[in-house]
């Protein structure tokens, strides 16, 4: 048990170090930072002095270790494009992405569970079949087409909801929130649906199949025999036992919501971290790309590690 945990933690740290190496290699091999920092009128001595001051004359390994240490302290260098520290830009952009991810996750979870239960208890009904059929098409549609479709219907044709940006935001400390203004909330709706739709269908299908499984079990039949109302049987007894796999899947999907936010943020010009990353790729803004790469891998590795450790905590068979 303990050795398993140690091994997993060790692996996670190794992965992060390798990702850091990739990020560092991007810095080292793409362009010469000296060229970027010194103008045309420079002497060989200036170059040497700056090289020494920046530590670029040191061996590769020493530079790499320094890079990792400063990254761990949240120092990712200065953006080539904006000329500001990357950490500041990220901190400024993060609230937009996190709010979007939270709302779409909530949307996916709540609607997914409701529709999953519905399609399971009315498994042969017309509405349930319609929902299942539509969900199949929804899964095969690329995210950006869903976004465009929603914009077309709700912004162009009906003119109900805004098609880009966050609307008005309120500044609370270092956090900008769109939750407190009407236009901020309205701006959230379409991006959140676009981002959450795939996860919603995933959760719906999962809940449906788990419910169908559970509803066949004896304890549900006994609950019915005891004269409990159908509602109590479904929600109190059956649904509870479908939640374990749903929670694990939701946990694992958290990472992909953040990753797929890149696409949604581009469609809706949502000023979050994903849009920042795409712009960085377009302009080959290495410090921003490297920082995003390391942050997102930290997140994925942490989520996976947490899920693995949770499994051990939940399932006694793994504790050997």
């Amino acid at each position: 048990m303990l050795s398993y945990i140690i091994r997993r933690v060790f692996q996670s740290v190794l992965v992060l170090l390798i990702v850091g190496l990739v990020a560092f290699a991007m810095f080292t091999f793409i362009g010469d930072p000296i060229d970027n920092m010194l103008g045309q009128e420079r002497t060989q001595e200036d170059v040497e002095r700056l090289r020494e001051r920046l530590g670029l004359d040191q061996p590769f390994v020493v530079q790499y270790v320094k890079f990792i240490i400063s990254a761990a302290q949240g120092n990712f260098g200065v953006s080539y494009e904006q000329g500001r520290p990357v950490a500041d830009i990220l901190a400024e952009r993060a609230p937009a992405t996190l709010e979007l991810a939270a709302v779409s996750g909530l949307f996916a979870l709540s609607l997914g569970i409701v529709l999953g239960v519905f399609t399971a208890i009315r498994r042969n009904g017309f509405a349930a079949n319609l929902i299942m059929g539509t969900s199949l098409i929804g899964v095969s549609l690329p995210t950006f087409l869903i976004g465009i479709l929603l914009i077309y219907v709700f912004s162009v044709e009906l003119d109900w909801l805004p098609s880009f940006g966050r609307g008005e935001t309120v500044q609370i400390g270092g956090w900008t929130t769109g939750f407190l203004t009407g236009s901020g909330l309205r701006a959230l709706i379409l991006p959140a649906i676009t981002l959450g739709l795939y996860q919603m269908t995933l959760i719906m299908r999962l809940v449906r199949s788990e419910m169908l499984e559970v509803l066949r079990q004896d304890y549900v039949r006994f609950a019915r025999a005891r004269g409990l109302s159908e509602r109590a049987v479904t929600f109190r007894h059956a649904l509870k036992n479908t939640m374990v796999p749903v929670i694990t899947v939701t946990g694992l999907q958290l990472g992909s919501i953040i990753a797929f936010a890149i696409i949604t943020e581009t469609v809706f010009q949502w000023p979050g971290v994903g849009l920042l990353f795409i712009n960085a790729v377009q302009f080959v803004d290495i410090p921003v790309m490297a920082a995003y790469l390391m942050l997102i891998s930290l997140m994925f590795v942490a989520i996976n590690l947490a899920v693995d450790l949770l499994y051990v905590a939940i399932d006694p068979r793994l504790r050997t």
């Binding site: 990739v22 290495i286 891998s297």
Partner: protein, 311 residues
């Protein structure tokens, strides 16, 4: 008296096979196959089917710009089946040429992913030990990231390494590399599993006794026996690769506008969403959808047809 039975032709034998029977019984498979065939052929021979080469400026007439589909242009009186874009390009022709890029990138990326994945899977399953551990660890790590994100990162890194003046020319190849490297894991896992089973069978032991080297055994003996699941994964990967390519190009980190794919066309069309020129966006989107959906359905059918255990 001996009756001489004529040996059946290859085609007749194929027609009688389980596989072909299955195909004839499945309307979904036939319709998807027909759509894929039409789209692939029309884009392969795009110059024959297109009304113009939309990327030769000599063919373009700016007066034809923004002609709605089917109606004659106000100035020139020309008609266009799917309308024209801002520069007077025929949307129908750009779709054919764009689909060419999409399909080429999709096929090439799947090929690359397949070659890498199958090789890694064979080596991993056959040699075991440290080699196996390292390859599978790398695969596990890559699998924890969504493949579209991996492709984006590879694209970004590769773009950084290419010199500025070649970036547009090389974009297509970088795209193939990025998508190919992002989906080798599926192939490697399946092939590794199958190789583990095949490795201990008698024909492999016999080949080993005859003194054949490890690589001839892997590629001449084991490979043909692990190929059928690879085919299924390749088809499903193709649909995913086409969507991945479209997504990257849509985000502006894929095919350049000088060599647009369907995703690039949708990106361009999105700019006209509010000004009413719906056809510039609509037709490329529908084409992409038809292509991805039918390849996907074909893949699903193929999986059921080649794997009787699932039925």
């Amino acid at each position: 008296m001996t009756t001489v039975t004529k040996p059946k032709s290859r085609f007749a034998r194929f027609w009688d096979s389980d596989f072909a029977y299955n195909f004839r019984r499945s309307p979904v498979a036939m319709v998807s196959f027909a759509i894929v065939a039409i789209l692939v052929i029309s884009s392969m021979f795009a110059p024959l089917f297109a009304t113009m080469n939309p990327f030769n400026p000599a063919n373009l007439d700016l007066l034809n710009g923004f002609t709605p589909p089917g109606t004659p242009n106000d100035f020139t009186g020309e008609r266009f089946l799917m309308g024209t874009d801002d520069q007077g390009r025929d949307v129908y022709s750009t779709i054919l040429y764009g689909m060419r890029v999409s399909l080429f990138v999709g096929f090439a990326a799947v090929m690359l992913g397949m070659v890498i994945g199958v090789t890694m899977g064979l080596i991993s399953g056959y040699f075991g030990g440290w080699t196996d551990t390292i390859i599978m660890r790398v695969a596990d790590v890559q699998l924890t990231f969504p493949s579209i994100l991996v492709a984006m990162l590879i694209f970004g890194v590769a773009k950084g390494f290419t010199p500025v003046e070649y970036r547009d020319q090389l974009a297509i190849w970088v795209l193939i590399l990025a998508i190919g490297l992002s989906d080798w894991v599926q192939f490697a896992r399946v092939v590794r599993g199958a190789t583990l089973v095949e490795r201990n069978k008698e024909y492999v032991q016999a080949a080993r006794l005859m003194g054949r080297g490890a690589f001839p055994i892997l590629f001449r003996h084991i490979l043909p026996n692990v190929l059928s699941p690879v085919l299924v994964i390749a088809t499903i990967s193709l649909a995913l690769a086409i969507i991945a390519e479209a997504t990257l190009s849509f985000l502006g980190v894929g095919a350049p506008s000088t060599q647009p794919s369907l995703g690039t066309l949708i990106r361009i069309g999105q700019g006209y969403l509010f000004s009413g020129e719906w056809w510039i966006l609509f037709f490329p989107s529908v084409t992409l959808l038809a292509l991805a959906l039918s390849v996907n359905m074909l893949g699903d059918w193929l999986r059921d047809a080649l794997n009787p255990k699932l039925r």
